[in-house]
């Protein structure tokens, strides 16, 4: 068995440590490029949401490199994500690919198929102490890869040498691929934190703060969202991203939950009373949290026509008014152009800067 899987930011690093340790041979799909997008657009249903198209193309590029098995997660709705696997499987079948599609569905669809899929994904092993040990190492790696990006977003506008920042983060990410035990991970963590702390900073008086909210794939996958967070950082904004795979997993597993998400859901309640699939309610709640924390603006990133996010967008109109918080909505799909996006982000940062100065003057006068 040679298994491939979809990309999602640095997920491949954690999986790249997990699977070989379990004895499962994997083929990491090539990094997402324009060609990947073209494959997805050509083969997926025209009006499907963008992540379905890109992940389908990941599978195809993985198969072309020799994969014969696909690992994919499923869901129970109500957002389309839960049905991706089914549609992708049929498309691959119709294309004549003879692959084994392992769909890890929510245990709600039946505990037995869940365990069967889990077993298949763990190379036939049942939960042993070894599997747990490896899984927990992979989990820590995923966490740290997210932490690295959190640091990069926060620091980009503040450090004197951005290239150095990128080198430290990219270097650490590369090193993570070689990790095989807790000690080597810890060594990388400590060394990286030290390097980041020693980066020279600029003196900035009024740092603009921008929060990112939105759908789990588009809001995180910098190869698809034109790396909006980098654009923002280069324009001098401190960036925080509320979307995280770690929190998503915590919230989806049966016995854990994400404190952050629970908090966001509570904040959203006055506007959106319940979960509506995907990250719809998180988007609303996280925006409110950013407003309360004094962020200057929020960027909402989502796949064009994404149902939960379109709901969130409708509701954010009110949130934006109530909290006097500028929000820029960026719907991403294969038709999005980089130039247009950059212009919009620049104009947005401009507005935030002017507002900040104006508010400051008002405070000084009063």
């Amino acid at each position: 068995m040679k298994a491939t899987f979809p990309h999602l930011l640095h997920l491949d690093i954690a999986l790249g440590v997990l699977y070989p340790a379990l004895g499962v041979e994997i083929i990491t799909p090539p990094p997402i490029t324009q060609k990947t997008i073209e494959i997805g657009v050509k083969l997926a249903p025209q009006n499907a949401c963008f992540p379905l198209k890109v992940t389908l193309a990941n599978f195809i590029e993985g198969i072309e490199l020799g994969a014969d098995t696909i690992f994919m997660a499923g869901g129970v709705g109500p957002c389309r994500f839960g049905y991706y696997g089914q549609i992708q499987r049929i498309i691959l079948e119709d294309l004549g690919y003879n692959v084994n599609f392992v769909l890890l569905d929510h245990p709600r669809y039946g505990i037995r198929p869940f365990i069967r899929a889990l077993q298949a994904m763990a190379g036939g092993r049942v939960l042993s102490s070894r599997v747990i040990k490896v899984a927990s190492l992979a989990w820590k790696i995923l966490r740290f890869s997210e932490e690295l990006e959190t640091e990069r977003r926060a620091l980009r506008a503040q450090v004197k040498n951005r290239q150095q920042l990128d080198e430290i983060v990219e270097g650490a990410l590369e090193q993570l691929r070689q990790v095989n035990n807790g000690e080597s991970l810890q060594a990388i963590q400590e060394a990286t934190r030290k390097k980041l702390n020693s980066l020279e900073r600029k003196e900035i008086e009024d740092l603009i703060k921008v929060g990112i909210v939105g759908e789990i794939y588009i809001a995180q996958e910098t190869k698809i969202n034109f790396n909006v967070e980098k654009i923002l950082g280069d324009l001098g904004a401190y960036v925080h991203n509320s979307v995280s795979t770690v929190e998503y997993v915590l919230h989806t597993l049966p016995f854990t939950h994400s404190q952050e998400k629970l908090e966001a859901w509570k904040l959203a309640k006055p506007y959106l009373k319940r979960f509506v699939g995907g990250e719809g309610i998180d988007t609303v709640g996280s925006t409110i949290r950013y407003a309360q924390q004094g962020f200057d603006g929020v960027i909402h990133l989502y796949p064009f026509t994404c149902m939960p996010e379109v709901v969130a967008k409708s509701i954010l109109t009110t949130v934006s008014k109530d909290y006097d918080l500028p929000i820029l909505h960026l719907a991403i799909d294969e038709h999005s152009g980089e130039a247009g996006l950059v212009t919009r982000v620049e104009a947005f940062v401009d507005v935030l800067e002017r507002r900040k100065k104006l508010n400051k003057r008002k405070l000084e006068v009063s």
Binding site: A48, G77, Y83, I87, L272, F304, T317
Partner: protein, 332 residues
Amino acid sequence: MKVGIPRGLLFYRFYALWKTFLEELGAEVVTSPPTNKNIIQQGLTYAVEEICFPAKVFLGHALYLKDRVDLLFIPRVVSFHRKEYNCPKILALPDLARNLFSIPGERIIDDEINMREEGMRGWQKGFLNIGKHFTTKESKIMKALQLAEKAYKEYQTNLKQGILPEDLIDHKNPLPLRERKIVLLGHTYLLSDSYINMNIAKKVNDLNYSVITPDMVEEEKKRYYLSTIPKPSFWTISNEIIGSALYHLKERKAEVRGFIHLVSFECGPDSLVGELIERLLKREKESLPYLRLEIDEHTGEAGLVTRLEAFVDMMEWRYKNIESHVSSFASS
């Protein structure tokens, strides 16, 4: 007390039930008029651009009623089938109306009807909560629900006979029956609102076909055929559409000549389920022609007619060719 039911989305499914229930509890029920240009315009003004056309139309209706009634009836119908959901927009419907039109929460009946986990208990709980807006007597509410369910059954029976929801609701004369049939797939609210679907049933009828919609297929049949695919979707209405398509495919009647699937451009479930159905149909050896028609506020009537006519020509041609093949085979 005047209670307004916007004429959109699940209205076409539950109208008889909702109306009876509310009236039994002493409410005066007002519905918005059939969709017109003005209502659509209102919906377009307030709704975000990317939301699906049926949701925009619904919001237009809600806005029409907003200042004409005491209470807007927009229950949150999370699910009306075990283990399944409605689409996120339907889940959020009362919140959308509340936020977009700045309506105070207490002016909307937004209680949740959710059969996903609890089945009939979730259903009853929902109506009990709705009923409490009108009376404290639970027995009165349950009585009203019983009568409402009876009205709903009757409504469904009428639909099974082949009457379209609009004709039932507005007491219009049904279209003349044609011998040949086209299976018309799609969400009831798209198939039933003749203004937004540009009167497709009539247009098909003028071309000498009657339509068969998912409403006209027995529930058990739909569910049986749905269960024959590896993983059904989790959207109830989409599942009924899949089930109906497979039913007509597998239990083919001679008078059925093809499939037309009416979808909304920005509809999430349609974007996947349309693809699924098309592929399932194509896999069948001697399948029937399939046409997917996308509708939104920009769809032009002329284009629709052209596509319909071309499709019917193709369908006839295919039918004749297969027919002659079959008969010559039989005589040889």
